[in-house]
């Protein structure tokens, strides 16, 4: 079982390393940062001097070697756009994203499990049809549109909620609400489908034959089995949230990692791009370990697989 997690972790580490290489070279394809940081009328000589100062004039492989050597010293370079250590900037933004993601994910998961499970107990019933419609709409509605309409309605027309920024508890409502739409919608569908399958399993018949109450059958006997595929999908969704809910953070002016990453890309702030990617990659790496552990906790067959 630990062998299993260990093997999976090694695989993910290889992926993280590959990602770092890719981001390093791809970001440098976007163009010469000197054009962005120096005034429009700067001379060739000034740009040359800027590139020399930041080491952009060296061949790529030398830059890459330097980047790796610095990484070993936990030096992630300087964010050009802010003139501060890149990692410091990234680490400030990351908890904001993490809080948003954790709350949105937990709420969606709990809600989806309850709604999906109840819908599955009576397929085709009124509750099921309602749940299916709402979850489908949630999963497919474009979040930028919902976000803008929500701002228009709750902030502009009703004046109930702040349009953007952070500070009060009220600031959390709209970003979390919009962020939850997709995970809630998708997860409800997955829980419902998985639950319907599990409820026709032979061991459910055994529980009925033992005289177990319907609610206990659904929420104890069936749910734990039905959760296995749900965990996989929830993991993917959580990863995409940690990655920075770019659209939502931008619209609501949330100072998270998604917004930071976009800013850094637009401004050709290579060190900052690399730092933000590294942080999210590590976070997703740990998220995957957690998911593997949850999986093993839920299903003894996985625990015993490589024992």
């Amino acid at each position: 079982m630990f062998g299993y997690v260990f093997k999976r972790s090694l695989q993910s580490l290889v992926a993280v390393a590959g990602l770092l290489v890719l981001v390093f070279f791809l970001s440098r394809l976007t163009g010469d940062p000197a054009y962005l940081y120096l005034p429009l009328d700067s001379t060739e000589a000034q740009r040359q001097a800027f590139n020399e100062l930041h080491g952009f004039d060296d061949p790529l492989y030398i830059q890459f070697g330097r980047y790796l050597a610095d990484l070993l010293h936990f030096d992630f370079g300087t964010a050009l756009s802010r003139n501060r250590p890149a990692m410091e900037v990234a680490l400030e933004a990351f908890p904001e994203t993490l809080k948003l993601a954790a709350i949105a994910m937990t709420l969606s998961l709990v809600l989806a499990i309850v709604v999906g499970a109840l819908a599955a107990t009576k397929p085709g019933g009124i509750f099921d049809r309602l749940a299916t419609t709402i979850s489908l709409a949630g999963a497919s509605a474009p979040d930028f549109w919902v976000a803008i309409v929500a701002i228009l309605f709750f902030s502009v027309s009703l004046g109930l909620l702040p349009t953007s920024g952070t500070g009060t508890p009220l600031h959390w409502i709209m970003p979390i609400g919009v962020l939850m739409l997709r995970p809630f919608g998708l997860l409800t569908q997955v829980v419902r489908g998985s639950m319907m399958g599990v409820l026709t399993s032979p061991y459910i018949k055994t529980a009925q034959a033992k005289g177990v109450r319907r609610t206990k059958i659904v929420f104890v006997h069936a749910l734990r089995n039905a959760l296995l595929p749900v965990i996989t999908v929830a993991g993917d969704l959580a990863a995409s949230l940690i990655n920075g809910a770019v659209v939502v953070e931008t619209i609501f002016g949330w100072p998270g990692i998604g917004k930071l990453m976009i800013d850094a890309i637009v401004r050709r702030d290579f060190a900052l791009v690399q730092a933000t990617v590294l942080i999210t990659a590590i976070a997703i790496f740990f998220l995957n370990i957690v998911i593997d552990l949850v999986y093993a906790a839920l299903d003894p067959r996985i625990r015993h697989q490589t024992a």
Binding site: K205, T206, K210
Partner: protein
């Protein structure tokens, strides 16, 4: 027994609704069972026997099921219209059930101890430590060794027979009065089957259980039944004391069913044609599977085959018999190079199969064809019968030119007892027996000289098994085929195989001409396989009396 029956089903009619309309699963079915009595409901798949069991337990999902009419009386009281809460309380406490496939019927993510203890807690009889203590007692009673430890194991850690023991334990935990056994031994090896049937009888003696046993297996039925009800297409066609139904069946369907019983006394010796140079010669075949080790664990190896040798002559039928895990299927997989042998040689007409290059192997596979156990999963559901049968001709371009395909497929279908117009249909439109006929036609398309049949009839109903075996025997005589017939069911090959190889734990433990082996088995294991087929109950009673 003049007292009122403990359970009576009266005029039960159950429909299932589907997209195509209404399907009548049972039609006016009536039967009853007394305390301490065993009633066997005998029927083939689709006869509606399991639906009756589900109805008694209240396990029919409505919709799609619908109980159209009928009463089910427990001690005189109708339980069909009983309030749900009272009905639920009967389950497990008064009426319990065990199912065919114990692995699927145990929840994979909870320990067996938890699942057992739940029976006590659900009915408010015991909880916590007390429930655990009682569960351990139950496990001991049904013969699970070291029950204190095994309580915390999960279903997948037990063997098939142990899982069925656990299911039985769960069913008898609260001392019910009625036990419904729905094909309880169908998924088990014969020796395990005998143990489970013994256990059921012991429990019946001790508790005075009424058993309603549902089976398609004539020998199991004869072994268990006091009375028998025979079902066909949702209706009861015959009912009576077990001995009468078996020895003097009245209804035509029952008579046909009984004729499928392998005949133990009569054996048609085939003229000894097994002459000439062997087609296949297997020497010291050995297969060791390296199990992937845990991170710190040592490498483990599983010896699936240990120095197996045999020869197969043209036109000969060799039965390879053994229980699951005996290595009998591994022999087939190695011979067809579906897996690599660890050591040994297998000569096909003098050439070592394991050293053949691609071209030789292709030619070899044409002459040696395989028929699998599950004709459904071994056929592509999106290919029609014509494509399935003609596929070998696409692979081996030189067998038959395209314009003749149509004609040849029709010929092959007729050869295996199907009709030419079946060529345009898809596998799911056929019954299990018909699908196996298609699989045989596909194998014959290559003009083989050897057919390897791996449990080719195990998934079929008894009467269909006999039809397929006589088809194979007929093809043998007409086409001069040689067979390697792999099965766990020794009696079934008695009238078919010329020679038999008995395997156990990867080794050949006994080998001999069929009739000699049946008359005079050398090994205890062989004797067990021959006798494992359960004896009729009326014979046991006589044996005990004398």
């Amino acid at each position: 027994m003049s007292t009122a029956p403990i359970l009576a089903v009266e005029n039960l009619t159950v429909d299932f609704l589907s997209g195509d309309g209404r399907f009548r699963a049972t039609d006016g079915v009536s039967f009853h069972v007394h305390e301490g009595e065993t009633l066997v409901i005998l029927g083939e798949s689709g006869s509606g026997k399991s639906v009756s069991a589900s109805a008694i337990m209240g396990l029919i999902d409505t919709p799609p099921g619908e109980i159209v009419s009928g009463r089910i009386r427990y001690r005189g009281e109708d339980i069909v219209d009983m309030p749900a809460e009272r009905r639920r309380d009967l389950n497990g406490r008064r009426i319990a059930i065990i199912f065919q496939d114990p692995l699927a019927h145990l929840n994979p993510v909870y320990t067996v101890g938890w699942q057992l203890a739940e029976v006590f807690s659900v009915h408010g009889i015991a909880g916590g430590e007390e429930a655990r203590r009682r569960s351990i007692d139950i496990l001991r009673r049904v013969g699970i060794p070291d029950p204190e430890t095994r309580m915390d194991w999960y279903p997948h850690q037990f063997s098939g027979g142990q899982r069925q023991r656990i299911m039985i334990g769960m069913a008898i935990a609260l001392g019910p009065e009625i036990l419904i056994a729905d094909e309880p031994t169908t998924a088990l090896d014969v020796s395990v089957q005998a143990q489970i049937l013994e256990l059921l009888k012991k429990l019946q003696r001790e508790e005075g259980l009424a058993i309603v046993m549902i089976t398609h297996d004539l020998e199991v039925a004869a072994n268990m039944a006091d009375r028998i009800v025979v079902m066909n297409s949702g209706k009861i066609v015959e009912e009576g004391p077990a001995r009468e139904v078996f020895t003097a069946p009245k209804h035509a369907y029952t008579q046909r069913l009984m004729s499928a019983l392998p005949d133990h006394d009569e054996h048609k010796e085939r003229a000894d044609e097994a002459e000439g140079a062997p087609v296949l010669e297997v020497r010291n075949l050995t297969k060791i599977y390296q199990l992937s080790p845990g991170m710190f664990g040592k490498k483990k190896a599983l010896q699936a085959l240990d120095n197996v040798s045999f020869v197969l002559r043209p036109g000969e039928t060799l039965g390879i018999v053994g229980e699951s895990g005996s290595g009998k299927s591994t022999v087939a997989r190695l011979l067809l190079r579906l897996a690599e042998a660890t050591a040994g040689t297998a000569l096909y007409r003098g050439r070592n199969i394991f050293e053949m290059d691609r071209r030789e192997l292709l030619a070899f596979r044409r002459r040696v064809q395989m028929v699998f156990q599950d004709p459904y999963s071994s056929m592509n559901p999106r290919m029609n019968v014509f494509s399935i049968i003609s596929e070998p001709w696409c692979i081996h371009g030189d067998i038959l030119e395209k314009p003749r395909w149509e004609e040849r497929v029709a010929e092959l279908l007729e050869l295996v007892g199907l009709r030419p117009e079946h060529a345009r249909r898809f596998p799911h439109q056929f019954s299990g027996g018909q699908r196996q006929r298609i699989a045989i036609a596909r194998a014959l398309a290559c003009d083989p000289e050897v057919l390897v049949c791996d449990e080719a009839v195990s998934a079929l109903d008894v009467s269909i098994q006999m039809q397929i075996i006589s088809l194979l025997a007929d093809l043998r005589d007409r086409l001069g085929l040689a067979y390697i017939f792999i099965t766990h069911d020794l009696p079934i090959v008695r009238n078919f195989a010329d020679r038999i190889l008995v395997m156990k734990s990867g080794r050949v433990v006994e080998e001999g001409m069929t009739e000699a082996l049946f008359r005079n088995p050398r090994e205890d294991y062989t004797r067990m396989l021959i006798q494992a087929a359960p004896k009729p109950k009326w014979d046991q009673a006589q044996a005990m009396a004398s």
